[in-house]
């Protein structure tokens, strides 16, 4: 192969640097702003590092919002949804991609169809369903809605993982006298772990960031999940940028921590699932 053009190689380094700045600089800037004192935040020209470090924005965040209860709500909704989605989607994906039965393709198409349906259109009628079920203002209303938005895509993501498990393994288990649920629990599920992790993280992140349904289904301020609870400070404290920055940092922090542990597996799993063939 011919030698690479040094000028072009320098050009791509510059381009890469620009994109890295575009992606990460906003996070640095909001983080550094959150540690500045109120006069330093609005100082112009702005200073790149906080001249004096302070935690007062975070103290104010905790004093003026119900951050701990928003966090609890978000965690509850995200964990419950993840548990239900992973269970339902795995069972359904096994049936669709592993078993032969009449109506398989129709059901698959319907499932994809539900994913394709714009979720915002369901906001009004689903509200009514929640009223009927007596779930308005209950965190369960959001669990119910979020499973609907995450399960169909999760089924589709599971395909590549299921197809990577040789059918012979199941046949061998059957010959050894294992029943279906034994095979599923002892042979399939352990091999599916990367897939299960992928859809679990996908679900968790989707739920963590969901806004429109959370903004309508929960009425009590204290029960609200994080994005909705903290969206209120945008309106109330329009120009208190230090406080808003602290809010953004504390909204992003939980998922960033999660991502630090599982990010690599998630990106691998997501691309495996999305790139079947």
């Amino acid at each position: 192969m011919r030698a690479r053009n040094p000028l072009r190689s320098a050009g791509s380094w510059v381009l890469l640097l620009l994109i890295v700045v575009l992606v990460f600089a906003p996070f640095y800037w909001i983080g550094s702003s959150s540690f500045k004192t109120p006069p330093d935040v609005i100082k112009y020209p702005p200073s790149l590092f906080p001249p004096t470090w302070t935690l007062q924005n975070f103290q104010k965040l905790f004093a003026s919002t119900d951050y701990p209860s928003y966090l609890t709500s978000s965690l509850f909704i995200a964990l419950a949804t993840t548990l239900i989605t992973v269970t339902l989607a795995t069972l359904a994906a096994y049936a669709i991609y592993r078993l032969e039965f009449p109506g398989r393709l129709t059901i698959l198409r319907l499932m994809v169809g539900t994913y394709v349906f714009p979720s915002i259109l369901l906001l009004i009628p689903l509200f009514q369903v929640m009223v009927q079920l007596g779930l308005i203002n209950s965190l369960w209303s959001l669990v119910v809605a979020n499973v609907t938005f995450t399960a169909p895509f999760s089924v589709w993501l599971m395909r590549a993982f299921l197809e990577s498990i040789p059918l012979e393994l199941e046949e061998a288990a059957a010959i050894d006298g294992a029943g279906f649920f034994q095979t599923l629990g002892l042979v399939i599920l352990p091999l599916l772990r990367p897939g299960l992790a992928t859809i679990a993280i996908y679900t968790f992140i989707t739920v963590w960031t969901e806004f429109p349904f959370a903004s309508q289904f929960i009425i009590d301020d204290a029960k609200r999940p994080l994005p909705v609870g903290l969206a209120a400070i945008i309106g109330q404290y329009q120009i208190d940028w230090g406080l808003l920055a602290a809010g953004a940092v504390f909204m992003a922090l939980p998922v960033v921590i999660l991502f630090a542990f599982v990010g690599r597996y998630f990106v691998e799993g997501l691309t495996t699932g999305a790139l079947k063939e």
């Binding site: 992606v23 112009y44 702005p46 269970t87 009449p102 539900t114 009004i124 395909r159």
Partner: protein, 293 residues
């Protein structure tokens, strides 16, 4: 045996299918019903009003403005995200410690809640923000730019912010797709005298078609569906300039208290979306989904 397999399959599918029936089929039915009534706020009485809502919606300038905005939104986001995603995927193609790190962490903007992204960018783009400082310091502008003041600028800004959130996801998927293509294919072509650019254009791009199909369909629907970032950045303003269809439907229902109109608008939007999906599937994507065991 066959019978038992089928029974087992239905048994495994039942929980999810019932769940989706309750949360999608029933609501959609109810939505269609609502679209033929004059209901204003939830729980108020509704009387049958025939096609009135549909007439209102189709005659309303706000609805068509929202429709046009949605098209601009989808095309703008598509162009910005595809360009950035391709650039990133190509730049990260060669494996190194740096690209391995970036391959995971570049997705960060997509992982944080839209509300956090909105706070970040409103702060950076404010009149005393870092972006205006940079523009003034380099003499590109004389006075601070108001990024949300005029409809067209507000739309461009909102598209840029939303693209910042979403392009990393596309980039990561494209990157994996690129790496899935055996490098021998390109090397062989280069031995035969193709230039590097030619190998990308004539070998890699055609092989990416299945992925691009999937991303084209999903990406368009993801974009069309975006609500939170627009609502929190601009509330659809100024003068409706960033009101896309989801924002319009939300506004009708929860700010103007006209559920009937919102429901009728939803039905019309669902028809548009369905039409788009059918067109897309016609052009050969259906097979990608089929799945064989």
């Amino acid at each position: 045996m066959r019978w038992r397999t089928s029974f087992l399959a239905y048994l495994l599918l039942a929980p999810l299918l019932i769940w989706l029936a309750v949360t999608i089929a029933v609501p959609v039915g109810y939505l269609v019903y609502l679209s033929f009534t004059d209901m204003g706020i939830f729980g108020t009485s509704a009387t049958f009003s025939g096609l009135e809502n549909f007439k209102d919606v189709l005659r309303s300038e706000r609805f068509w403005q929202a429709g046009r905005n949605t098209l601009v939104w989808i095309v703008g986001n598509g162009l910005a995200q595809v360009t950035l995603a391709f650039a990133v995927a190509r730049l990260l193609y060669r494996r190194s410690a740096l690209t391995n790190f970036l391959q995971v962490w570049i997705i960060l903007p997509w992982v944080v809640p839209g509300v956090a992204a909105v706070i970040i960018w409103r702060w950076m783009l404010s009149s005393i923000g870092i972006v205006n400082f940079g523009l003034e310091a380099t003499r590109l502008v004389d006075s601070p730019v108001s990024f949300f003041a005029k409809p067209s600028i507000a739309m461009a800004t909102t598209i840029a912010i939303n693209s910042w959130r979403w392009f990393p996801l596309l980039a990561v998927i494209l990157l994996a797709a690129l790496r899935n293509i055996p490098s021998e294919l390109r090397e062989a072509a280069m031995v035969d005298g193709a230039t590097e650019n030619q190998t990308w254009w004539y070998i890699v791009l055609p092989l990416l078609r299945p992925v691009l199909y999937v991303l084209g369909l999903l990406g368009t629907l993801w974009s069309a569906n975006i609500f939170d970032v627009i609502w929190l950045l601009t509330k659809g303003g100024p003068s409706g300039g960033t009101t896309t269809l989801p924002v319009y439907l939300y506004e009708e229902a929860f700010a103007r208290f006209s559920l009937g109109t919102s429901a009728a608008g939803s039905v019309v939007m669902a028809v548009f979306v369905l039409g788009f999906v059918m067109l897309f599937l016609r052009y050969g994507w259906g097979r990608e989904l089929g799945g064989r065991r």
